[in-house]
């Protein structure tokens, strides 16, 4: 026997691999599809310098100067005024629910004080739960005071131009004043970890039955599809809760993430998120022919979840089409819920707007899964 490297033997293995690769269409599609998706997402959707961030303007001064300031905000490219709340409570709700990233407070008598040279202050509250999302916009703000009103300060007011700026912009980084990245990442990781493990575990749970032939036995018994699905989901819900608990403990005692809201509420809403992911896994397992395919589908779902949900990159930095895809994904809404509860101290009222999209997603996926689950072997 020769133990040299022999070409024909090597070639035999190469040909066999290619034949098998061709047989498994899904794997082949994944090998082409995954790079394409990555290219689209990384290439077009992801933008670490988000522009046109929604801002609410709470103005108690209706002068030409306030209007100019707002215009200058929008002209910077970083802000887009999407709301004009009339009360502070309304402004507070907007930023708590995450509808706006900034609240611009223009004080009463802003124009009068400005004209008198008293250098009035405009307060800009930024939602700093995700420091990277607001960083550049905040940077642009400080430049703004210098030049925003140049156009209006003419004639007698000309001397107010230049240094020091005619008014002051005070920035208040809400929820995360020191801009600590962990505050944002650690609660987010809870969602990412749950997505990964929940989908994969249930995805494998059903395909394993089919691959090992135990499915045939199960189908020959009087057990109903819903009983099988629910029975497979419940144990993993418990696993999910163990994961949530571990991450919360680490967040609290290792990373010192603030927990302003009600942890019990978080435990409650996490159920919808876990259920949604488990349902995705079960749906995958009704489609996948083997465990390998279930793994690939998990990855196929996981990648956009991570990139388009606002976990890795600012959600508002993405083009509209990417935001639309992101809005379908449960992780997107879960991130807003968990950050809202932990960092903003949100209650049920502020959480509900992010809960129902997860519920809707869950119902849709369960419906597809039940339709695809075959009671017979046909």
């Amino acid at each position: 026997m020769s133990d040299r490297f022999v070409w024909y033997r090597f070639w035999a293995v190469v040909t066999k691999e290619f034949i098998q690769m061709r047989r498994d269409r899904l794997t082949f599609a994944m090998m082409v599809g995954i790079p394409l998706i990555q290219l689209m997402l990384f290439g077009f959707a992801i933008n670490a310098d988000p522009k046109e961030l929604p801002a609410a303007v709470l103005s108690a001064d209706h002068s030409e100067f306030s209007r100019s300031f707002v215009r200058a905000l929008e002209n910077s490219g970083y802000f887009k005024v999407t709301a004009q709340p009339s009360t502070e409570a309304e402004a507070e709700r907007l930023i708590a629910e995450g509808d706006v990233q900034f609240v611009v407070n223009i004080p009463e008598n802003f124009a009068r004080k400005l004209q008198r040279g008293e250098r009035p202050a405009i307060l800009v509250e930024a939602d700093a739960t995700d420091p990277t999302a607001t960083g550049n916009a905040v940077g642009a703000l400080s430049q703004l005071a210098q030049t925003a009103l140049d156009h209006d300060l003419r004639g007698a007011l000309q001397p107010l131009q230049g240094k020091p700026a005619p008014f002051e912009v005070r920035i208040h980084r809400r929820y995360n004043p020191e801009g600590i990245t962990q505050y944002n990442i650690v609660p987010g990781l809870m969602g990412v970890i749950l997505t990964m493990t929940m989908i994969m575990q249930t995805g494998l749970a059903m395909t394993r039955e089919r691959e090992r032939g135990t499915m045939e036995n199960l189908l020959a018994t009087p057990v109903r599809p819903f009983e099988v699905m629910a029975g497979k989901i419940v144990p993993y819900i418990m696993v999910g809760y163990i994961q949530v608990t571990l991450i919360l403990l680490a967040a609290r005692f290792v990373f010192n993430v603030p927990m302003l809201g009600n942890v019990a509420l978080l435990y409650g809403v996490v159920l919808a998120f876990i259920a949604a992911n488990l349902a995705v896994g079960l749906m995958f397992s009704t489609v996948a022919k083997n465990q390998m395919q279930a793994m690939q589908m998990t990855f196929f779902f996981f990648l956009p979840s991570m990139l388009l949900s606002g976990f890795m990159f600012p959600f508002r930095g993405m083009p509209e089409w990417a935001q639309n895809i992101g809005s379908v994904l449960p992780l997107t809404h879960f991130l807003r819920m968990v950050r809202g509860i932990l960092l903003k101290g949100n209650g049920l009222a502020e959480t509900l707007p992010h809960l129902w999209p997860i519920g809707l997603f869950l119902l849709t996926v369960v419906a597809i899964g039940l339709k695809r689950y075959r009671k017979t072997l046909d």
């Binding site: 032939g213 045939e216 036995n217 199960l218 020959a220 018994t221 009087p222 017979t376 046909d378």
Partner: protein
Amino acid sequence: MGNDDLAINVEGLTKRFNGLLAVSNLALQVRRGEIYGFLGPNGSGKTTTIRMLCGLLTPDGGRGTCLGYDVIRETRQIKRQVGYMTQRFSLYEDLSIRENLDFTARIYGMGNRRQAVDSALERLGLADRRNQLAGTLSGGWKQRLALAACMLHEPRLLLLDEPTAGVDPKARRDFWDEIHRLAGEGITVLVSTHYMDEAERCNRLAYIAYGTLLARGTVAEVVKDSGIVTWMAECADLYALGSQLRGQPGVSQVVPFGNVLHVSGTDAALLERAIAPFRAQAGCRWTPIQPGLEDVFIQMMEKARDNV
């Protein structure tokens, strides 16, 4: 025969997979309490038929009853009273013997679960190995466990799909003794097999090839109806004799069995004429014998293939 006497009574059963006919217009009558053998080559539609009978596959055509329930509409009732043993071991290999039985008992919602599982373990003789993982059992034990699991809910009909494939002779014999004991208790058994000795242990049997039923009845009836005549030749050079006989008019099969040769045909006169020249050969002894089931089935299969 009234429907009450029949555990299985179906007709016109048809199933296609992607346009390919797997089972075609099949009729099957199995009496209550009998052991019915289901024979046929690989891919002939045995498994498909069994799966249709227990509601795992929906027939494309045909009608009938299983234990008095409609095979199309009342599959849930059928599943409750049928024990189905799959061809491939389909219990959980990563559960222990006891856990597997316990799971099955729970699925069927048995009230006296613990007791049923314990007595099944006792009957199996696996009581002291109850905590062993099912995956670590040998082929024969896996098969006994699978039978115990599908008997747990006390079904009235057992559908066994090649239960003894790959099992040693002793385990096979024990298995069949168990089947006969169950039939004695009034349970109907439909069992598919490739083994002729097993076919002969059935009360009646059916032979299916290419999705079509070719013969049915008792072993004696099937052999008689086939019209096959067989001669046994004892000769010095069996190989030479065999190759000379093959292809002769009237000779349809030449099969060596150890030191003898079985020569069969469907036309007695034609066959005798074909072997006549060899009967006079020195050192050769020719005897007419009763054809075996295997000769009959191979004959049928070849005839059926010619017709396809």
